[in-house]
Amino acid sequence: MTDLASNRLFTRALSIGYKDEVIVKGIDLALAGGQSLALIGTNGSGKSTLLKTLVGLLPPLAGDLNIVHPREIAYLSQFHSSGFILPLCAVDVVRMGRYAEHGLMGKLTSEDDDLIHLSLKRMGMEKYAEKPLRSLSGGQQQRVYIAQALARHAEVLVMDEPTSGLDAGAHEIYKQALTDEMQRGASIVVATHDIQEALECSQTLLLARKVIAYGPGTEVITPESLLETFGITINLREAKLGVTVIERDHCCDHPDERG
């Protein structure tokens, strides 16, 4: 059995879902330090459920899940409904990324402060550090949330559709930040609808309430696998990848299962 000595994340025959419903079964993954894994699939395909299982928010229903200690995992969830309500400045949100390291009362050090400001800087949000979160646009708030995940300085970053709401410039900043994270040895798991992003990752897992394909993106993203995952038609003239994605929601009975 492959262990964490070589892999930050390792699963074998993993079944995920909620207590009364298996959503995807038979997931085999192995992700080493410095590698990235993209999860692609339609809404309801099991992406968010898998991410929540990896970070410990949901228990695995069957199979093996080996991952680094929860303290070493950063998680960026898909929904942040509180951004326009909470009286917080951008730097306060990023500072929360350091709480896992210090627990209830541990004092934050100058190293933590450096990490917090570096994370804001890496997402191009340094000048907004003292701005109230609710005064920022949706895209700027998303950059602050990504900065919070970066501030964790974790061994594994797990992110659920992190590029939603980002403009082209912010998207490039985000890509550079992920490259830097992988260069320092972190592993990245990202759920995305962006097939180009998936192609740039070390591995891709295609989900449609079952595992469609898993492996290097360039090998597993094929017209056939995309057809099975999304329901697509090939259009070589119009799209960058020669595909047009037709969104087709998979059956989703559980209210918490949204991605």
Binding site: K52, V55, G56, L57, P70, R71, I73, Y75, S77, H80, S82, I85, L86, P87, L88, C89, D92, V93, M96, Y99, A100, G103, L104, M105, P132
Partner: protein, 283 residues
């Protein structure tokens, strides 16, 4: 100037009311902040009203009302948890059920006792002008406890306000700290009902914190602003009550709600002014 100070200097009951009001303001400022930020207004309202049967039964059997209120609060939180966990119903349905059920039970108990009419007014609207030194000491202890809890649990509470999932993955049990927060709300309600009454304690939990949410840029300042606005309501409400012979608890809460609408109007006018300024600059 004397008019503003004299009532409190010359009347020990007014001074005790002011001190009790200060403690209620701080308690409700801390707890109300989390109620507003986490959207727990309905459970706060339900707890504030649902403690009535416990208080009524305690008074019938000659036990301090605070103990009855505490038992009621535990039953309510437990009932809401059981219904939410063991059915597909949302928590607001469970809260609503317990809320009306407990309130109805309270009224049924009160209606069976002919000696209750005077006490009922005290339960519902408080007896801040007749508060004893012992009650103030108890309230001071509860206030200190709530402040200490808010300081110790500041990180998980902040994360819970931001995202319960983020709290969980940061190593803080979202469920545990949610219940600690509910216990703090219950404590605030139980300890404040003697002062402003069960009907009005909710106003003190919500109005100052709501106004503070419009003003503050950070949660710690929101707590401070809520406490200051709450105390301002207590002071003004007591003065109005003293000078015009009006019900003290209701006067205090009316002041709190009025202050909220003043802050709300000022903030809206400010936003409109800034928007106009922005348009003028663009032209």
């Amino acid at each position: 100037m004397n008019l503003l100070v004299e009532p409190f200097v010359n009347n020990p009951f007014m001074l005790r009311a002011l001190i009790a009001g200060l403690l209620v303001s701080v308690t409700c400022g801390v707890v109300g902040t989390f109620i507003v930020l986490r959207g727990l207004a309905f459970i706060g309202d339900a707890l504030a009203h649902g403690v009535l049967p416990g208080i009524a039964i305690a008074m019938l059997i000659g036990v301090p009302g605070i103990i009855g209120a505490a038992v009621s609060a535990v039953i309510m939180i437990g009932g809401i948890t059981v219904i939410t966990n063991r059915s597909r119903l949302t928590s607001d349905t469970a809260i609503g059920l317990l809320f009306v059920g407990m309130l109805a039970l309270g009224v049924v108990i009160v209606s069976r006792s002919s000696s209750f009419s005077g006490d009922l007014v005290h339960i519902l609207f408080g007896e801040i002008l007749g508060i004893s030194t012992g009650s103030i000491v108890l309230q001071a202890i509860a206030t200190a406890f709530i402040i200490a809890a808010a300081i110790v649990f500041a990180r998980p509470f902040l994360l819970l306000c931001f995202s319960p999932e983020q709290a969980q993955v940061s190593g803080f049990s979202a469920k545990l700290y949610h219940y600690i927060m509910l216990a703090m709300i219950a404590l605030a309600v139980i300890i404040s009902f003697q002062t402003v009454g069960t009907m009005l304690v909710f106003g003190m939990l919500l109005a100052p914190a709501g106004a503070a949410a419009l003003l503050a840029r950070r949660i710690k300042y929101m707590i401070v602003y809520a406490s200051i606005l709450g105390f301002s309501s207590v002071y003004l409400g007591l003065l109005i009550s003293y000078n015009f012979n009006l019900a003290a608890g209701s006067s205090i809460v009316l002041c709190a709600v009025l202050i909220f609408f003043i802050v709300f109007t000022i903030k809206n006018l400010q936003a409109r002014h800034q928007a106009r300024k922005g348009l003028a600059l663009n032209d």
